[in-house]
């Protein structure tokens, strides 16, 4: 049993990804099969009836309810603007003139001769679904939406917060081991997907919000800062609905962890290209991971090398995913078959690793490593 089944996160330069985009209500699909779409292309839309506003004309104009219909200056069914005079009345033998204004834009829907109320309906509320990702429509769900196929680079993070967004990729630090600091964030990062290195702090995220970045992609983040960001302790990892002003994707985990070289290289290779990002995460059976999609016309290039699972061999590159070596990277130098006692006295399967940074060796449980690309 030389297997280690840690989350099989996909990091690939060439993937085919399908994304379903549906309206919450029945409506009109705007993009036909085969249509090329950009992230902000509206692919389906519908309208909701506007809100109702009531204006008590009888009271406002000191008129008998039975007569309010006569006070209207425009007929029922007319469209009016906010502040526009909609009814007038004269009193005191014509000496006093009073009027009522439209409380909002809308249509004069009806007037009651019993209560003296005017019903004004606000304009319909458009509900739109955008494509989210660049690609083309491969399926139309009648009256509901479309399925979009995107071809290109696809990276899954391990945890994220915040919803869907998109923007050009901008790498803001010089290496995967660097922390993303407030001074790295410049006005030109506005509306961009900013790639940091090993870590981002709460303060830097606040700067990101101030600058107006679309998303931040980094290796690690502190849970204490997550609590500050969300205003509560996150018990069960179900995210994506937060309204933070930006989306955050962690590629490695909690704490300060160098972004995996492969992830870093891939994101760098696509600098300047439009990336679609979602922070939605659900860690439970039927898992959902945050994602970064960089589609390009004509699809991806290069081989898809997604599968890093399976056996560990001598020389396999791996990362330690638990203390005391959390986040360190090395290669396998021995795979002893017999169980060995840990510091805890538990007898488990282990392997020996040689760390890349200092050449030192350590024996660790096989359960505590994940294979990474060489």
């Amino acid at each position: 049993m030389a297997h280690s089944y840690t989350p099989g996160l996909r990091v690939t330069d060439s993937a085919r990804v399908l994304r379903e985009r549906r309206l919450p209500l029945k409506g009109e699909v705007l993009a036909p099969i085969g249509a090329e779409v950009a992230p902000d292309t509206v692919v389906a839309r519908t309208e909701l009836p506007g809100n109702i506003q009531t204006v008590n004309l009888a009271q406002k104009l000191a008129t008998d309810p039975a007569k309010v219909a006569d006070t209207l200056v425009r007929p029922i069914g007319s469209q009016v603007r906010k502040g526009e005079i909609i009814a007038t009345a004269k009193s005191m033998f014509g000496l006093m003139k009073s009027h009522a204004e439209a409380p909002s834009d809308g249509t004069l829907e009806s007037v009651s001769t019993v209560t003296g109320q005017l019903i004004l309906r606000e304009p319909p509320i458009p509900v739109e679904v955008t494509a989210y990702v660049r690609g083309h429509v491969v399926e139309v769900i009648p009256n509901e939406g479309v399925v979009i196929e995107a071809l290109g680079a696809f990276l899954q993070g391990i945890f994220g917060v915040g919803g869907e967004t998109f923007g050009p990729l901008a790498v803001a630090v010089s290496g995967p081991e660097q922390e993303l600091l407030p001074q790295h964030l410049l006005p030109e990062h506005r509306a961009k997907v900013v790639v940091g290195g090993s870590f981002v702090s709460y303060e830097t995220l606040m700067k990101a919000r101030e600058v107006g970045v679309a998303a931040v992609v980094v290796g690690g983040f502190d849970d204490q800062d997550l609590k500050r960001l969300l205003g509560k302790d996150l018990g069960v990892a179900i995210t994506g609905g937060e309204d933070l002003g930006f989306t955050l994707v962690l590629t490695e985990g909690f704490g300060r962890i160098q972004m995996a070289q492969r992830t870093w290289t891939l994101l760098n290779a696509h600098q300047g290209e439009i990336a679609s990002v979602s922070g939605a995460t659900q860690i439970r059976a039927g898992v959902m991971r945050p994602e970064i999609l960089v589609p390009r016309p004509g699809g991806g290039s290069g081989a898809s090398t997604e599968s890093l699972e399976g056996g560990l061999d001598l020389g396999s590159m791996l990362r330690l995913i638990r203390e005391p070596y959390f986040g360190r990277i090395g290669w396998v130098t021995a795979l002893p078959p017999e169980l060995q006692a840990l510091d805890t006295e538990a007898h488990v399967r282990v392997l020996e690793v040689e760390f890349v940074d200092d050449g030192k060796r350590a024996v660790v449980p096989r359960a505590n490593v994940e294979r990474i690309a060489d």
Partner: protein, 609 residues
């Protein structure tokens, strides 16, 4: 397939947990059925596999390698046994579906919406969102949210009996329009429980029955001033166990492999606990702590009757891996730290806990890490037991109602059947207890979390195989019983814990013990002590405990009790640290000194932590 017990020579059984899949191989020998080997592998519910059978095959492969006997033919378990190959029967239990996250809805946010939320929370669910007609969101926004969250279950309530039907129908239509997809994939019908105005039940059926797994239960708010949460809570609980928990990607495939239907893990463990209680005629509490959920079982006598009642609760979001972050959120970090005998940086601890959640199959490598994991275990057990006590209030199906003031107080109604003084045996199962490097660690974790009173025996499942034996007992009772007694249940030893407050060092109890055929010994134990006395691991022991005035062992203050108990591998634990109340110093240095003292007394770790 007909199973003829006397023809069964070998049994392979797996339990698919949310984190680990465990396989056991049982063979019939000259002395009956025995466990011959076990294997385990990470559960494969996540990408890239998303197929629970992969983890099953890996765990069986390990059994095959260790036993040196062919059990698999490619991706198929060989049944029946032919010569030395294959097994006569393959069985499985599953809890791989993990936690329970619900959406609840009512008509009015502050009324039925809140009642529904309480019903869900009481059943151990996480409430992802509460929807109500007056929650300020437009229908399309609610639909969007339903789709985004992928709840495991929806509780729809609303209206008092005889009240408005139209608006309940609107909520049902909204759910129907959302057509939410369950997280466990296609072919899985989303359970919806309707617990609203009984007059609207037919309308709700018309909207939802064809597209969801709809259950209709009595209204949780039959009158404005009356709340009746139990039917809804029981329905949530049962549906979770039967419907959500066992399901996981690949579940359908696994179903075709097993000789009898896959049993939900808590159902299987419950069977064993019930059998033990019945056989020995004692009150039993069992706990199975997993990665996503913690299940508590109890069998207690109903006061003033001869009747016993079995209760089972599944705390759907308390566990050691997927749910570990929720243990921290629910218990509070200070409650976890109170069990850690060294200074820990809070920021570091938080990151460790979250990293365990996102990479659930890792194990502690350092002693400090083990101690922290065991601290989390204590709190997960404590919270699960609190929930169990609140829910184990009477006969199933018997309705309990609360008036409006109770409802606002959010206090559970009815008095708990759980009486710790009556408790005869406390059994622990689950990775963190069964695989604790020293059995004393499992003993102290259970002791600290459950705080048993009087005289109680402690036991653990040796290798975490109670679920498999539970399902086995449904087809081969004899094999299940033999393996349970010989290979599964490990008695840790009896605990003596008097009730009552006291001052440190004050005389508290005198304990006299006499092993079968051995000589009698006795010891006076002052208040505030934890003491471990070596006793034989097997055989009976007569215990007489005489409390000082002010302390109660169950017979009244100052009155002696005598009981015959069984020995155990850890020893006789004398715990005068106090019950009602039990307390730990809040000041860090004093707390650390205390914890270290207890660890030394129990010989917990290879060195001081």
């Amino acid at each position: 397939m007909e199973i003829i017990p006397e023809n069964i020579r070998s049994i392979l059984a797996t339990d698919c947990g949310s984190t680990t899949t465990k396989a056991v191989l049982i063979e019939k020998g000259p002395d009956g059925y025995r466990l011959v080997t076990r294997g385990e592998a990470p559960t494969t519910v996540e990408a890239p596999f998303e197929d629970v059978t992969r983890g099953v095959l890996n765990a069986v492969k390990e059994v095959e390698e260790l036993r040196g006997r062919k059990l698999l033919d490619g991706d198929r378990i060989l049944t029946p046994q032919t010569g030395e190959e294959g097994v006569d029967i393959y069985l499985s239990t599953s809890s791989a579906g993990g936690g329970l996250q619900m959406m609840v809805s009512g008509l009015v946010l502050q009324m039925t919406g809140e009642s529904a939320q309480r019903a869900a929370l009481g059943a151990g669910a996480i409430v992802m969102d509460v929807m109500a007609l007056n929650d300020g969101r437009r229908p399309y926004e609610k639909i969007k949210r339903l789709r985004q969250l992928r709840p495991d279950m929806i509780l729809l309530s609303g209206g008092t009996d005889g009240g408005d039907v139209k608006r309940v129908a609107e909520m049902a239509e909204l759910i129907a329009a959302a057509d939410p997809k369950a997280r466990l994939g296609a072919g899985y019908e989303l359970p919806v429980i309707y617990a609203g105005n009984k007059d609207a039940a037919e309308v709700v059926r018309a909207s939802l029955e064809s597209r969801t797994a709809l259950s209709v239960v009595p209204n949780l708010r039959p009158k404005l001033e009356q709340e009746n949460l139990k039917p809804a809570r029981d329905a949530i609980h049962d549906l979770f166990m039967e419907h959500v928990m066992a399901h996981a990607p690949g579940y359908k495939k696994l179903m075709t492999w097993t000789a009898v239907p896959i049993m939900p893990t808590p159902g299987a463990v419950g069977l064993i606990i019930e059998k033990v209680a019945k056989r020995d005629g004692i009150a039993v509490v069992g706990v199975d702590i997993g990665g996503a959920t913690t299940d508590v079982f109890s069998v207690f006598k109903v006061p003033d009757t001869d009747e016993t009642v079995f209760n089972r609760t599944v705390s759907a979001n308390l566990g050691m891996s997927y749910s570990v972050s929720n243990v921290m959120a629910e218990a509070g970090i200070e409650n976890i730290l109170r069990w850690v005998p060294f200074d820990v940086d809070e920021a570091d601890l938080r990151n460790r806990i979250k990293n365990k959640m996102i990479r659930p199959t890792t194990i502690p490598q350092t002693l400090d890490d083990l101690v922290i994991e065991q601290a989390l275990c204590r709190e997960a057990l404590r919270l699960s037991f609190e929930q169990h006590k609140a829910l184990a209030v009477g006969l199933k199906g018997k309705q309990q109602s609360r008036d409006i003031s109770d409802a606002l107080d959010q206090v559970a109604s009815g008095s708990s059947l759980v009486n710790l003084l009556d408790l005869g045996l406390l059994v622990g199962s689950g990775g963190v207890l069964s695989h604790a490097p020293r059995r004393a660690q499992a003993a102290l974790m259970m002791l600290d979390a459950f705080l048993p009173e009087g005289i109680t025996e402690l036991a653990v499942d040796s290798i975490f195989m109670t679920p498999q034996l539970g399902v086995l007992s449904t087809v081969h009772e004899e094999a299940a019983t033999q393996v349970f007694e010989r290979d599964c249940l490990i008695l840790l030893g009896p605990v003596v814990a008097p009730i009552g407050p006291g001052k440190l060092g004050q005389p508290c109890i005198t304990v006299e013990w006499k092993p079968e055929g051995g000589k009698s010994e006795s010891r006076a134990v002052p208040f505030g002590t934890l003491l471990l006395v070596p006793i034989p691991a097997e055989g009976a022991l007569t215990l007489t405990v005489t409390p000082e005035r002010g302390f109660d062992m169950g017979a009244g203050k100052g009155r002696a009790v005598t009981r015959t108990v069984r020995g155990g591998v850890v020893g006789l634990i004398l715990d005068t640290r106090g019950r009602q109340p039990f307390s730990i110093p809040t000041e860090a240095a004093a707390r650390i000194e205390k914890l270290r003292g207890w660890n030394r007394a129990m010989n917990m770790y290879p060195r001081e932590v």
